[in-house]
Amino acid sequence: MRARTVYIVITAVILIGAAVWCAYVMKPKSGKTVVISQDGKVLYHIDLDSEKDKTIDVEYDGRKNIIEIKGGRIHMKSADCPDHICIDTGWLEDGKPIVCLPNRLVIEYEDGDIDGTAR
């Protein structure tokens, strides 16, 4: 019976730790610079505040992703990967990047506010 208590406590600690981490990740980002990178290489640096509405096509291995910027927000408009998780993620809002695993594409806010304050 004692062992069970220990296990419940460990599980609770993992859960609480993960929840705190989640909250940290989901904190809205203050920076407005978005980085689009593929296969570890940075493709675009985009300042969402000054960027006009447009779509960006990114190709990988014959497959295509279309990223849309609209009203200072960014999301994956379409992708021909099998799972479409990147589209379901919706608009980029917090530290949770938009990821297209099959096409190795990552859209995320740039780390730190160095860029923001310098401007």
Binding site: A3, R4, Y7, I10, T11, I14, L15, G17, A18, A19, W21, C22, V25, S37, D39, G40, P82, D83, I85, D88, T89, G90, G95, K96, P97, V99, L101, P102, R104, V106, E108
Partner: protein
């Protein structure tokens, strides 16, 4: 290995595959890559307690390989292999300390190990560390899914013992 054991392992692989294929039909609830119930883990946890590590490994890898072939998603194979391996190693070590009536905890530990493996591969594939932001979400879902599959395994084991006594 005798024929009886081989047959048992074959049947277990088959069972795990069926569960895996059925689970593919369940639509994704949250748009986070890698979140799933992992029902096939029921069979893995059962094997960890009832078979030797080598035998469990054979069952696990046959299932992962065939599962990836059947689902036609070979990209997911690497995530499954990395997650599965970490989960398997973690569970094999922990089963020496965790008694059978606390199987649910072993399952949770395995699920969290699986998540860490998945994210590690995702970081390698994307050559970017930013996906680690998904780890806490996966860990929460892993705890819930692990608890569920672990409790399932416990019930299966209880019932199997009862039938064995009768027959």
């Amino acid at each position: 290995m005798d024929t009886k054991k081989l047959t048992h392992l074959g049947l277990l692989t088959c069972l795990a595959l069926i569960i895996f294929i059925v689970e593919l039909r369940i639509p994704d609830i949250v748009p986070i890559p890698g979140v799933k119930l992992g029902l096939a883990n029921i069979v893995t946890v059962y094997c960890v307690y009832n078979y030797r590590p080598g035998e469990t490994a054979m069952m696990l890898y046959s299932r992962i390989l065939l599962g990836a072939l059947f689902s036609g998603n070979l990209m997911a194979l690497w995530y499954s292999i990395a997650g599965g391996t970490l989960c398997f190693i973690g569970m094999e070590i922990l089963k020496n300390f965790i008694r059978e009536d606390n199987m649910w905890f072993l399952s949770i530990a395995g699920a969290v190990c699986h998540n860490i493996g998945q994210i590690a591969v995702a970081m390698l594939v994307l050559k970017s560390t930013s996906v680690i932001a998904y780890l806490p979400f996966l860990m929460i879902s892993g705890c819930i899914a692990g608890l569920f599959t672990g409790l399932c395994t416990q019930m299966v084991c209880k019932r199997l013992k009862r039938t064995r006594k009768v027959s």
